[in-house]
Amino acid sequence: MLPSLAFCNDIDFADWSAYREVHRLLREEYGFQTEDSFWLFDPGGSEMALFKGSLEEKGPRHDDLLEEIARGRLAILHGGGNFSRSNTQVRPSRRLIGEGLVYLRERAKVPQIWTNHGDEGDIQNIGGDAPTYHQGDDPSSNAYILDLLLQGGVQFFWTDHHASDAFAFSANGTAGRPLLVRERTRAGHDITCFFRYRGALPKAPDAQTLSLQLTQRNLDQLVEAGGATVVYQHWCVHRDADGRPRRASSPVFPSESMKALKRLMDYRDRRIVRVMPLTQLLLECSATAGGHQHVR
């Protein structure tokens, strides 16, 4: 398999126009087909959530999001909802997220990828084999949802302990760091988790630090290793001088990040790296990994 790269973006701080602008740029300027994530619920009314606090309250861009989900462009469930400690009007529950998954199945489709989101307030997050505050895979919790996610068709999970400073992974798990690992949850399910390249950044990666992730050194490593990588991003986020995140203003990607995207485009055009949607990459890796995946 040719060395391959996919982006995995967390939709935090995005609004509809920022989301549209990023994907227009990636598609039209660089020719990258990428997916993105969304929330089922955001009590605060984010444009990137289907609903506010319940199925009775549609989010401001509900219809647009539903279409994007149906077309597979929004293909990552980002924590099921935005229930962080600072957003406490509605708490996550099995009933609420279960209703959301049924809705998705009936009106669009359930994504195959789940990424944890937020902080200790997001108790619906999945803990895998290293749970701390996570209750999404704890059958004794009111926020237990793992069985619903698996029944709904989620196949790949990113949990908090799968952020990596290493860029290149083994796509099939035969040599080096595997991109996919199997983990046993408290519910007894074995789930497939994937790593994301974060890099040694003090704060979570964003549009302004993309250039530090897509360095020539990293891309060369990927080519040399012949593997795969998933680049973790928050591309609708900029930070102020004190490091506080806020919605990205225009231009979303500063010049250094644009140069980095051009660098990636060059590797793609020279056919030494493939850039593909995350779902496709994970499915390919999963198919080639076969019995090599292991339970941690």
Partner: protein
């Protein structure tokens, strides 16, 4: 006290006389329906870490639903009094807290009677020499570009702290269980008695001992000796991820120092000792964000964390930083200016020639200004120095913001640097103030 109030006003013995004004204010504010207590505080400074008092006054109203319950809680608290001092800092629930003080009362509690809550320094910084084996471009003490601007002779001749002074420091810090920090204007590993000093400190009771070093002479033998002597913390100043940057800034060979640091980390693992190890980086001019990122990649997960120092500009020995962080600015706006810097309530600096200073800013002036020494060591003991007139006067003047006697404080640009902000993202904890950014992984 208002005549219609019924209850008990209780003043436990906290080894400090209660200021008349405090009592007057307290009794005018208490109410019949609510218990209350009085805890002296200095705005912002107390919040940032000024030593804290236990409640000095309690008001327990004569109310059948309140009195018994509150007395019970207070008795529980006082039950833990050790050696005449209550050691529990909690306040009974539902007890209204009054903390306001006039400047005069602040002086009373936090300068004149500080010994009641803080009888010894929280840390002693020991400067073991004035010598360094590198000439880093940004160093105000040893840079060939800056040395010609020195106004004092402090760095002219080599001065080593004599062993007798170190021996006494180890005994005093050990007996009082005071943490020790080494490495400021000097390269401490050059001192011939450094291992002996660490060992003496630890065997005599020092709970924590730290060294900041450039790591050039940190051979495997020295690393092994320091770990076995009981070193508990080490910062290695690297300032580069690339050899050419290191050569430009520090004038030496990066690979050698990195190899020394890796060997130290390996020996720590092999010996199974707990010594925190961090790599540090000064954000010098001309260093790219890419290199800073490479530095984090190298050391964030391979040591116990990384420290970045914002580059200070030195104007006649005054450290000047470009940015004051947001939280500090907000606090300055809230109190309308300056609060007392915490250093003289926390730390004491012993120089190799026996002079005594009180903060990093005073030390940074060593090459530029003759400042008043806070006493003489070892002629005076550490506790005598801590409780002596100069320190008491300094604390008083800081509370009153009358700094005529203290030129280092007058011109100080970092008095607000104790304000920190912490974030936790993806298991990476970042703590920043206007001088440093400390980044650590929660799970290694």
């Amino acid at each position: 006290m208002p005549a219609d109030l019924r209850g008990v006003l209780f003043a436990p013995d906290r080894l400090v006389p209660i200021h008349r004004e405090s009592v007057r204010r307290f009794v005018t504010r208490i109410r019949q329906d609510r218990p209350a207590c009085f805890i002296p505080e200095v705005p912002v400074a107390s919040e940032l870490g000024l030593p804290r008092y236990e409640p000095l006054l309690y008001w327990i109203p004569a109310h059948r639903d309140i009195a018994g319950r509150v007395w019970q809680r207070i008795r529980e608290r006082l039950g833990s009094v050790v050696g005449g001092r209550a050691v529990v800092t909690q306040v009974p629930a539902h007890c209204e807290q009054f903390t306001e003080l006039s400047r005069e009362e602040q002086v009373h509690y936090f300068a004149e009677h500080l010994h009641a809550i803080c009888p010894k320094p929280i840390q002693v910084s020991v400067i073991v020499s004035n010598i360094c084996n590198l000439k880093c471009v940004m160093c105000p003490y040893h840079s060939p570009d800056i040395r010609p601007t020195h106004q004092t002779d402090f760095f002219k001749d080599r001065v080593w702290m004599p062993w007798e002074m170190m021996d006494k420091l180890a005994s005093e810090c050990g007996a009082s269980q005071i943490p020790v920090k080494i490495g400021n204007v000097e390269e401490p590993l050059l001192h011939p008695h450094i291992v002996e000093f660490v060992h003496a400190c630890r065997t005599r009771g020092v709970p924590w001992i730290h060294i900041t070093t450039n790591g050039v002479t940190l051979t495997e033998k020295l690393a092994s000796d320091l770990l076995e002597a009981g070193l508990t913390s080490l910062y290695v100043s690297l300032d580069a991820a690339r050899p050419e940057t290191y050569r430009r800034i520090r004038g030496s060979v990066l690979e050698q120092v990195e190899s020394n640091l890796r060997a130290f980390l390996r020996l720590r693992r092999e010996k199974g000792v707990s010594c925190s190890v961090m790599a540090s980086f000064v954000r010098n001019k001309g260093v790219s964000e890419e290199e800073i990122f490479e530095f984090r990649e190298k050391w964030l997960r391979n040591s116990d964390g990384v420290i970045f120092y914002n580059l200070a500009e030195y104007e006649s020995g005054n450290s000047v930083f470009k940015q004051i962080n947001r939280v500090a600015k907000e606090k300055m706006e809230k109190v309308g200016g300056r609060w007392p810097c915490l250093n003289p309530w926390q730390e004491i600096y012993i120089l190799p020639d026996g002079r005594v200073y009180y903060c990093c800013e005073t030390v940074s002036k060593l090459a530029f200004e003759q400042l008043e020494s806070m006493g003489r060591y070892p002629e005076q003991s550490l506790l005598e120095l801590w409780r002596g007139e100069p320190f008491t006067a300094l604390r008083r003047d800081l509370v009153l913001n009358k700094l005529d006697r203290w030129p280092a404080c007058q011109k100080c640009g970092i008095w607000m640097a104790h304000v920190t902000a912490t974030t936790l993202e993806d298991g990476v904890r970042t703590t920043t103030n206007m001088i440093t950014e400390i980044i650590q992984c929660q799970t290694q």
